[in-house]
């Protein structure tokens, strides 16, 4: 029991609320939000240490004991997600200082940025399925505002589709909560885990599990519900697209991992090895095909989000400690690298003024640091050793072969190859080739923008070279979440 774990929700909320009062003063907003995001990083490092020492920390709001009251649970998985979220949020925020237009700044960009983090952190921490819905809505409503911020014609049209799809997804979420409540009589996740185990997950509970999978799959960009993703991530400025690309789909994936390890884990031959693995295969393959066929920097990256989300759920679907650890490691790797790539795309756009890769060329001469940062992030994404992408794909595919899941493992290998192809396509068009920049363009300095990106690229290298301790940590988390009794006992204190 510790009041500390409410801070990742409360602190960004207070910062966001204070920022509303300084909406017209961009200097004050930058100072407050910059300091706020750095404090959040410090806080989440501290919480990660606490979670590592104590395994599971819980907070019962207002001292109402577990199945009745509202509960927050911090275990190692949640702590890890909080830590990455805060780092990404800080990086994207400092990138936004250099790129966002003052018109967007004045229309509550910073407050909603922090409200988004409130929702994301809340979704990671909550131990109650209905509160998960509430925090999803906090996150989504802020994301609607951010994605339409600036109100260009393109943004308005695509955001409308994004909003409607998510409203529909939320409606399905409430339905799924209603059904699970009518079958089990509880909405507390630990209590649900216990009750579903008691009745040994009959068919109706499995059907509800599939409903939850659809809901979170739509938010996480899984096949066949990913069609909204590339277009809506294209509209907003790079800082927002990077945060969304790195963070938002992973909240859906986190929810899937939580649900299918804690509650619905009694029928793995149907839900995990059947449904999730199949969906993962289609997701990663069709996603990467989309990326291969595109010639727009941001769209290629958006399609890659889809294909990589496939790897994460594949790790969950194979459902051995090694594979789940691989999926967790993959989430860490992906969040850093993907955000870095989106930010690099934004920096490139600042130089060339376009995102069409066929209209660019020869940036390597005028902007070598930008080029090599992109190169590291790109080959890391494709999974070239010794960078982080290799060590995250390796355990997933290895355990795929160990479990005799030949088809999905072969698809995963093929997708890795195609990822390399499309990343090299960007590299070849944008950074190599003849110089298409005008003199004025080649003098544009992006050094200020590269400062927030540098730590993210460095993390990818560190994650690769220090794979041993970090993978051990992932394995520790995987073993913890694959043993739901840890979570249940900590929450219900039995």
């Amino acid at each position: 029991m510790s009041n500390l774990i409410v801070l990742p929700i409360l602190f960004p909320f207070i910062v966001g609320a204070v920022l509303v009062f300084f909406a017209k003063n961009s200097r004050a907003q930058r100072i407050i939000s910059g300091i706020g995001s750095l404090i959040l990083v410090g806080l989440s490092i501290y919480l990660a240490v606490v979670a590592y020492q104590q395994d599971t920390v819980i907070l019962e709001a207002g001292d109402w004991s577990a199945p009745y009251g509202i509960i927050l649970v911090l275990d190692n998985l949640a702590a890890l997600m909080l830590l990455i979220t805060s780092i990404l949020a800080a990086a994207c925020l400092f990138f936004a200082f250099g790129t966002i237009s003052s018109k967007r700044e004045k229309y509550y960009f910073y407050p909603f940025y922090f409200f988004l983090i409130v929702g994301v952190n809340g979704a990671f921490l909550t131990g109650d399925i209905f509160n998960l819905f509430v925090f999803f809505e906090v996150m989504l409503l802020s994301s609607y505002v951010l994605i339409v911020n600036g109100a260009t014609k393109y943004q308005l049209r695509e955001s409308f589709k994004y909003v409607i799809l998510n409203v529909f997804g939320s409606a399905l979420f409430i339905m799924a909560v209603a059904w699970i409540y009518s079958v089990t009589g509880t909405v507390n996740m630990a209590h649900l885990s216990e009750r579903v185990a008691e009745i040994n997950q009959p068919g109706i509970v499995t059907a509800i599990a599939v409903m939850f999978f659809i809901v979170f799959g739509a938010k996480g960009g899984l096949f066949p519900l990913y069609f909204w993703l590339p277009k809506s991530y294209y509209g907003p400025p790079a800082a927002i697209a990077a945060l969304f690309g790195g963070l938002l789909t992973k909240v859906g994936i986190y929810a899937i991992i939580r649900m299918f390890t804690l509650i619905f884990h009694h029928e793995p031959s149907f839900t995990h090895k059947g449904l999730i693995v199949t969906v993962a295969g289609f997701t990663m393959f069709l996603g990467v095909l989309g990326a291969v066929s595109q010639y727009d920097f941001k769209r290629i990256l958006s399609y890659h989000i889809i294909s990589q989300v496939g790897y994460m759920v594949m790790g969950l679907g194979i459902f051995t400690p090694l594979a789940v650890a691989g999926a967790i490691y993959y989430i860490v790797h992906h969040m850093f690298v993907k955000t870095a790539l989106f930010l690099l795309a934004g920096a490139t756009e600042k130089v060339t003024g376009t995102t069409q890769i066929r209209e660019m060329g020869g940036l390597i001469k005028s902007h070598p640091v930008l080029t090599w940062s992109f190169f590291i992030a790109a080959v890391s994404l494709a999974g070239i050793p010794p960078l982080s992408g290799f060590f995250s794909k390796f355990p997933i595919i290895l355990s795929g072969f160990q479990e005799g899941q030949w088809v999905i493992s072969a698809v995963a290998l093929l997708v890795g190859l195609l990822t390399l192809f499309s990343m090299m396509k960007i590299f070849g068009y944008v950074f190599w080739g003849e110089n298409k920049l005008t003199e004025k363009q080649s003098e544009v300095s992006v050094t200020k923008l590269l400062i927030p990106i540098a730590p993210l690229v460095a993390f990818s290298v560190i994650l690769g070279f220090a794979a041993e301790p970090i993978f051990t940590y992932s394995l520790h988390i995987a073993e913890q979440i694959l043993e739901p009794s840890n979570y249940v006992n900590a929450v219900l204190k039995e």
């Binding site: 308005l156 049209r157 409308f160 909003v163 409203v167 409606a171 409540y181 009518s182």
Partner: protein, 112 residues
């Protein structure tokens, strides 16, 4: 009573989905409204429609109602109120920029 409610929910849901398939974004907005009503009713119905006293300690009654679904619905309605307000503004702004509420007229914006 549950049967009647199920039929009402199904009808509302069907109308909502029909409206959301429309090209007119104003109709889509109304569709989301009806959709939220139907899921709130599901939340109420799935928990079982009981008659009885409020579950308070000093009330000696034969049966009590379940307060949890009502609390959940209240929360969901408040959230949905916010979403609806936002979507209404979004529809209005889209109309201002595109001078139309028909999705067909919005194709091929310049900044694409």
């Amino acid at each position: 009573m549950e049967i009647v409610m199920s039929a009402v929910i199904g009808l509302l849901f069907a109308v909502a989905v029909y409206l959301m398939f429309s090209r007119n974004i104003l109709r889509v907005l109304i569709g989301t409204l009806l959709l939220s009503h139907s899921v709130h009713l599901i939340l109420l119905t799935m928990a079982g429609l009981q008659r009885g006293a409020p579950p308070l300690l000093f009330l000696e009654a034969g049966s009590y109602t379940d307060p949890l679904p009502q609390a959940l619905i209240l929360t969901a309605i408040v959230i949905n109120f916010g979403i609806t307000a936002f979507v209404s503004v979004l529809v209005y702004r889209t109309y201002q920029e595109h001078k139309s509420v028909d999705l067909y007229d919005m194709r091929g914006a310049k900044d694409e």
